[in-house]
C-alpha cells in the first residue's frame, strides 16, 4: 500500500499559499485579487498532490510495480486545473487592463445596491441629525459624496430626482 501520511512541508506550503491568497483576495485592486486567485489555485493544486499520497516512482503502468508508483489521477487533474487557471488568469489580466483603460484604476467597485444604501442614508441624514456627533465626524452626506461612484453619469440618480 502507498504511504498516506501527508508531507508536512507540502501542507505548510499549502497553508501559506491559502493564507496569502485569501488576504490578497480581500484587496480592492483587481491585480492583487488576481495574484490572490493564482496563489489559492496553486495551493489547491498542491492539495491534489497531497491527496494523491506520498511521492513514489513515475505514474506509468507497466514500468513500475503496482504500489510503488505514484497515483497518476491527481496529476492528471492538477494538469487540467493548471490549464484552467491559466485561462482565467489571462482573462482577469485583460479585464484589469480594460478597467484601467476606462477608469484609470483597476479597483473592484462597490455594487450598485451598496451605493444606493449609502445615498439613501445620506438623504435620511437630514431628518435625523445626531447632535452629539455633529461637527465631530464628517456627515454621511460628505461620506456619500466621497464614495467612489463611476456609474453616476452626472444626471443624478432616481433617488435625487424625486
Amino acid at each position: 500500500m502507498i504511504d498516506m501520511s501527508p508531507n508536512l512541508v507540502l501542507v505548510v506550503t499549502i497553508a501559506a499559499l491559502f493564507t496569502v491568497g485569501v488576504y490578497l483576495l480581500l484587496e480592492r485592486s483587481l491585480s492583487r485579487v488576481l495574484i490572490g486567485v493564482i496563489l489559492i489555485g496553486n495551493g489547491a493544486n498542491l492539495l491534489f498532490l497531497v491527496a494523491g499520497g506520498a511521492a513514489g516512482r513515475p505514474p506509468l503502468v507497466g514500468v513500475e510495480p503496482e504500489g510503488e508508483m505514484s497515483d497518476p489521477l491527481p496529476q492528471a487533474m492538477v494538469l487540467t486545473a493548471i490549464v484552467i487557471t491559466l485561462g482565467m488568469t489571462a482573462f482577469l489580466l485583460a479585464m484589469a487592463y480594460r478597467s484601467w483603460q476606462l477608469h484609470g484604476h483597476d479597483e473592484v467597485q462597490d455594487d450598485v445596491e451598496d451605493r444606493r444604501i449609502v445615498r439613501l442614508a445620506a438623504l435620511d441624514e437630514r431628518a435625523f441629525v445626531d447632535t452629539d456627533t455633529e461637527g465631530v465626524v464628517e456627515s454621511l452626506d460628505e461620506e456619500a459624496a466621497l464614495a467612489r461612484d463611476e456609474t453616476d453619469d452626472g444626471h443624478g440618480t432616481e433617488v435625487e430626482q424625486r
Binding site: 491534489f48 487533474m77 484552467i84 482565467m88 445596491e113 463611476e150
Partner: protein, 518 residues
C-alpha cells in the same frame, strides 16, 4: 434495448464542434448563424431522444473506452435528460432572439463574431455539467460554462459591464477554487472522484470527514446557485449584460448549481444531515430575495431578485429529503428555467419598446404594444404562481411535500413560500402596472418590435404554458426521476456493474485501482 448510448455525448460534442466551426467562420456572420442554429437544434433533438431513452434506466458512456472508476464517464439519467431538454429548448429560443436583435441593432459595440462560439461553448459546458459522471468532470463543465459566461457578460467591454463583470468573475473564481479544494479533499478521503464509486465509498469513511466534504461541496454550489447569504453577486452582475445573455444566465447558470446540489445531496450524502441548514437557507433566500425585488424600481434588477428568491423554492424541495419534495423541486426547476428566461427576454423587448428599464420612466406600453403586455403578463403570473399555471403546480407540490414532512420547520417554510409567492405577485403586478398602464412621464417613441425577437419570446412563453398542459406526464416523469435519485442503485449499477468497474476495455488500469488507497 438497442444500444443508443452514442447519443449521450452529443449534447456536449455538437455545440463544441459548432463553436470551433463558428470561430473559423468568424468573417461570415450568415454562415455562423446557420451553423449555431442547426447545431443547437440537433443538440435539442439529441437531448429529447435522451429524455425518452433515459426513462428506461441511466445511459452510460465511457469516454475513450476507459473503465469507469478511473476513466471519465457521461451518465444520462432521468434528471440529467430532463434538464438537458429544457435547457436545450431555452438556449435555442434565446439564440434566435439574439440573432434577431443583433440584426436589428446593427451589431452595436459588441464583437459579434465572438458571440456565436462563446454561446455554443456555454451550451456545451452546461450540457457537460448535466451529464458528467464524476466530480472533476463536473468541475470542468462548470469552468467551461463560467469561462464562456465571463466573456458574454463583459461583451463589448463597456465601463458598466467591466464593473459588474469584475465582481461576477471574482466570486465565480472563488467558488471554483472552493469546489476544486473539495474535490482534492474528497480524493484524499476516498481515492476516487467517480460519483458512482463515491456513493459506495463515502458512507464508509468517518462521519465527521463526510460532513466537512458535504459542507464544502454545498458551499461551492450554493455560490453558483445564488443561495442566500451567497447570492449578493447575482442581482448586481446580471442586469448589466445584454438582454439575451441575462436571459440565458438567469435560466441556466444558477440551475446548474441547483442541479449539482441535487445530484450530490441525493447520490453522495443521502442521509440529509444538513437538511435543517438548507431549510433555513431556503427560507432566507426566498424572503430576502423577494424583499429585494419589492424594493427595486428597475425591472431588470427586480427580475434578478425574483430569480434569487425562487431558487429558495428549489432548495426547500431538496431540503425536504423526501421523494415528494424532490419531485416538486425538479418540476420547479424545469418550470423556473423557462419562465425566468421568458421574462428576461420580454424585458429586453420592453426596453426596446419603452427605451428604458426603469419603472419610473416606463409607462403606457399596453397601448402601444398590447402583444407585449400579454407576453409579460403570462410568465409573470406563472412566476407568481397563479392557478392553473405551472408555477402554481410546482408550488403546490412543494407545499404538499412540506406539509407531508410535518416538522415545525417545514411548516415555517410552507408559510414562507406562500408569503414569498404573494410578494412576488405584488412586485410583478407593480412592475406590470407601472410599465404598461401608468401615464408615461414623457411620450415614448413607439418602436417597432422585430418579429424575429417576438417569435422566440412567444415560443418560450408558450413552452411555459405547455408545462402546465403537460403537467400530468411531466410530473410523473419528475416523480420517476426523484424515485431514481432516492434509490441510487440504478445509477451506481449502470456506471459500475457488479459494484466493481465499468465495461470499458482498460482492464489493467481498473485492476490497479482495486489495490487503491481507501
Amino acid at each position: 434495448m438497442t444500444d443508443m448510448t452514442w447519443v449521450v455525448p452529443l449534447p456536449v460534442m455538437l455545440p463544441l464542434l459548432g463553436a470551433g466551426l463558428t470561430l473559423a467562420l468568424y468573417g461570415r456572420p450568415r454562415v455562423q448563424r446557420v451553423v449555431s442554429v442547426s447545431v443547437l437544434s440537433l443538440a435539442l433533438l439529441a437531448s429529447a431522444t435522451l429524455l425518452v431513452l433515459a426513462d428506461d434506466g441511466p445511459l452510460v458512456v465511457e469516454i475513450g473506452g476507459w473503465a469507469a472508476p478511473v476513466g471519465i464517464d457521461l451518465v444520462a439519467d432521468r434528471l440529467s435528460a430532463l434538464m438537458l431538454t429544457i435547457s436545450g429548448a431555452v438556449t435555442l429560443c434565446v439564440l434566435l432572439y439574439s440573432l434577431a436583435q443583433s440584426q436589428e441593432d446593427d451589431e452595436e459595440s459588441a464583437p459579434v463574431s465572438i458571440y456565436h462560439p462563446t454561446y455554443l461553448v456555454l451550451t456545451a459546458g452546461v450540457a457537460n455539467a448535466f451529464l458528467s459522471g464524476d466530480l472533476f468532470n463536473l468541475y470542468v463543465g462548470f469552468e467551461i460554462l463560467l469561462a464562456a459566461s465571463y466573456v458574454l457578460l463583459t461583451l463589448g467591454g463597456t465601463g458598466e459591464r467591466i464593473r459588474a463583470g469584475t465582481i461576477y468573475v471574482v466570486v465565480a473564481l472563488l467558488s471554483s477554487v472552493l469546489f476544486l479544494v473539495a474535490i482534492a479533499m474528497i480524493y484524499a478521503a476516498t481515492g476516487t472522484v467517480n460519483l458512482a464509486q463515491l456513493a459506495i465509498r463515502l458512507p464508509e469513511i468517518d462521519p465527521g470527514t463526510q460532513l466537512v466534504l458535504q459542507v464544502m461541496l454545498l458551499l461551492a454550489f450554493a455560490i453558483k446557485a445564488a443561495i442566500f447569504p451567497l447570492s449578493a453577486w447575482l442581482p448586481d452582475s446580471y442586469p448589466t449584460a445584454p438582454a439575451p445573455v441575462t436571459a440565458v444566465f438567469a435560466g441556466l447558470l444558477t440551475k446548474v448549481g441547483v442541479y449539482a446540489i441535487i445530484r450530490t445531496q441525493t447520490l453522495l450524502f443521502p442521509g440529509g444531515r444538513l437538511d435543517d441548514v438548507l431549510m433555513w437557507a431556503a427560507l432566507a433566500t426566498m424572503l430576502i430575495g423577494i424583499l429585494g425585488a419589492v424594493a427595486q424600481d428597475d425591472i431588470k434588477r427586480l427580475l434578478s431578485f425574483t430569480l434569487v428568491s425562487h431558487i429558495g423554492f428549489m432548495v426547500f424541495g431538496i431540503a425536504l429529503s423526501s421523494e415528494a419534495g424532490m419531485t416538486a423541486a425538479i418540476y420547479y426547476v424545469a418550470h423556473h428555467i423557462t419562465v425566468q428566461t421568458a421574462l428576461f427576454l420580454v424585458v429586453g423587448l420592453v426596453e426596446r419598446a419603452g427605451g428604458s428599464t426603469s419603472l419610473e420612466r416606463l409607462g403606457g406600453l399596453a397601448r402601444f404594444a398590447p402583444l407585449l403586455a400579454v407576453l409579460f403578463f403570462v410568465p409573470a403570473m406563472n412566476l407568481a404562481g397563479i392557478p392553473p399555471l405551472s408555477g402554481f403546480l410546482g408550488k403546490v407540490g412543494l407545499l404538499e411535500a412540506g406539509v407531508a414532512s410535518g416538522t415545525a420547520l417545514a411548516y415555517v417554510l410552507v408559510a414562507g413560500s406562500v408569503l414569498t409567492s404573494l410578494l412576488t405577485l405584488y412586485a410583478l403586478v407593480k412592475a406590470w402596472n407601472k410599465a404598461f398602464w401608468q401615464t408615461p412621464p414623457e411620450d415614448p417613441l413607439p418602436a417597432r418590435l422585430p418579429v424575429g425577437m417576438v417569435v422566440p419570446t412567444a415560443a418560450l412563453v408558450s413552452l411555459g404554458l405547455a408545462l402546465t398542459l403537460a403537467a400530468g406526464p411531466l410530473y410523473a416523469y419528475t416523480s420517476r426521476a426523484a424515485q431514481a435519485l432516492a434509490e441510487r442503485d440504478p445509477y451506481v449499477n449502470a456506471v459500475l456493474p457488479d459494484g466493481e468497474r465499468g465495461p470499458g476495455e482498460s482492464a489493467d488500469v481498473a485492476e490497479t485501482d482495486e489495490g487503491g488507497h481507501g
